[in-house]
């Protein structure tokens, strides 16, 4: 426990005013033994109370002192008191309460040792724990990111499967042309709502300042379906512009932003319905 918080909890005041339970009394004594600042606080409060008490003092009658001193002769002092020695020893030996106290004292000692050790090493421990926590946080972040990306992948795979199995969807494979023979991209065209999704299977990364543009051939004329960039996500379904009655799809390489009409000698892939 942080000694500062412990002090601020007000338990020390309650301790000195006799408002603590047996467990709390033990705890306060432990804490005071372990933490010098707790002991100092305890002393300061005690001192204030004592000063306050002395301000409320009332002198007892003068003859009372002599009466008391006279009675001392009849009373065995602590050093010689057999009665006291017995009452101190017997309960420890015979009653379970004695055992409890012994156990409590041992527990206090262990607690004090533990707290002392922890406190003395607190800076080091804290530093270590903090760096461990940071490392764990990083791991957790990485794991979370992985989970998220896995979930997204699953989602995409699911979407793709839905499209492949959807009878309204027509799949058009666009194969590589001489300019890029290994290139491949797939169109998923929905016959009912006319939506177009593009999946890039394999296309070379365009040079800077260049962008791919998707075209549909409808009524013998090229229709712009939008530009797109290459990502390394093979499951990504790019939503392109809708098209009513395509006869074929093709991709050309154009200046960034696309062109009004396709640059035919830069056609990379094409596929007909």
């Amino acid at each position: 426990m942080d000694p500062k918080q412990y002090i601020e909890s007000g338990i020390l005041e309650r301790y000195l005013l006799g408002h603590c339970t047996t467990e709390e009394i033990q705890e306060v004594q432990c804490m005071a033994r372990v933490f010098a600042e707790v002991q100092a606080e305890l002393d300061a409060i005690e001192q204030a109370l004592q000063t306050y008490a002395s301000m409320q003092a009332v002198a007892p009658p003068a003859d009372l002192k002599a009466k008391i001193l006279a009675r001392l002769d009849d009373q065995p002092n602590a050093e010689t008191s057999q009665e006291l020695r017995e009452t101190k020893v017997v309960p420890m030996q015979s009653s379970s309460t004695g055992n409890k106290w012994a156990i409590a004292a041992a527990a206090c000692f262990l607690l004090a040792m533990g707290l002392g050790y922890l406190y003395n090493n607190s800076q080091k421990q804290l530093g270590l724990l903090n760096s461990q926590m940071a490392a764990m946080q990083n791991n957790l972040d990485a794991a979370n990111a992985l989970t998220l990306s896995t979930r997204q992948q699953l989602q995409k795979t699911g979407n793709m499967l839905t499209m492949i199995n959807d009878t309204a969807i027509q799949r058009v494979s666009m194969k590589g042309l001489p300019i890029a023979q290994n290139a491949l991209a797939t169109i998923y065209w929905n016959k009912q709502n006319k939506q177009v999704y593009l999946n890039i299977n394999n296309m070379p990364q365009p040079a800077t300042g260049k962008q791919y543009q998707l075209w549909a051939i409808a009524d013998g004329k090229p229709v712009d379906l939008g530009v797109f960039d290459i990502t390394n996500d093979s499951l990504l379904m790019l939503k392109m512009h809708d098209i009513q009655n395509p006869q074929a799809f093709a991709v050309t390489l154009e200046p960034t932003g696309g062109s009004v009409s396709p640059t035919l000698d830069q056609m990379y892939v094409m596929g007909a319905l």
């Binding site: 007000g10 005041e13 309650r14 000195l16 005013l17 006799g18 408002h19 004594q29 033994r33 305890l42 002393d43 300061a44 409060i45 005690e46 001192q47 204030a48 109370l49 004592q50 000063t51 306050y52 008490a53 002395s54 301000m55 409320q56 003092a57 009332v58 002198a59 007892p60 009658p61 009372l64 002192k65 009466k67 008391i68 001193l69 009675r71 001392l72 009373q75 065995p76 002092n77 602590a78 050093e79 010689t80 008191s81 006291l84 101190k88």
Partner: protein
């Protein structure tokens, strides 16, 4: 009393030194008697209690452990407990409302005015609700529950008030 003097005094007391006991009495009997008077509210009874308490201190000084608090705190506990027991025995305590006890105590005269008069005036400025919490707990030995009932405030308030009261008192005494 300075810490070193107190340690020496306790050592002598544990050896059965009567002169040491006389010093102890001179130093603390006023504070203790003031508190006993607050609790029992009767001079004859207060003298009995102080006498019994002093004898008990003499007999049990061996059980005083200076690692667990100052000598005065121990003396106070011994004396206060005796006074409370006495009151319970006489079953007068219930019949004696706290206002009465407080009022009486406020009129009690300090016997060592020289070094505390300025501070005493300052302490008089302590907020009444703080004064009552300290007085009821420290001088009268009321439990937190009893204070809560007596002042008609929640237990939690008693707890926070106790800490604030002592912080305030310490501030005043330091000034």
């Amino acid at each position: 009393m300075p810490k070193t003097a107190e340690i020496q005094l306790v050592t002598l007391l544990k050896q059965g030194d009567k002169a040491a006991f006389s010093t102890l009495y001179d130093n603390y009997s006023g504070s203790l008697y003031g508190i006993v008077m607050r609790i029992v509210n009767d001079e004859d009874l207060a003298q009995d209690v102080l006498q019994e308490a002093m004898i008990k201190v003499w007999k049990n000084i061996a059980s005083y452990d200076d690692t667990k608090g100052t000598l005065f705190t121990w003396l106070l506990n011994v004396t206060r407990n005796l006074a409370i027991d006495k009151m319970r025995y006489n079953s007068k305590r219930q019949a004696d409302p706290i206002d009465n006890v407080m009022h009486k105590a406020d009129r009690a005269v300090s016997h060592n005015t020289e070094d505390t008069i300025g501070v005493k005036e300052l302490v008089a400025n302590l907020k009444p609700e703080f004064k009552s919490v300290i007085a009821m707990a420290y001088f009268n030995g009321y439990t937190q529950d009893e204070i809560s009932k007596e002042l008609n405030v929640p237990l939690g308030t008693v707890k926070t008030r106790t800490r604030n009261a002592l912080l305030e008192l310490r501030k005043i005494l330091k000034a």
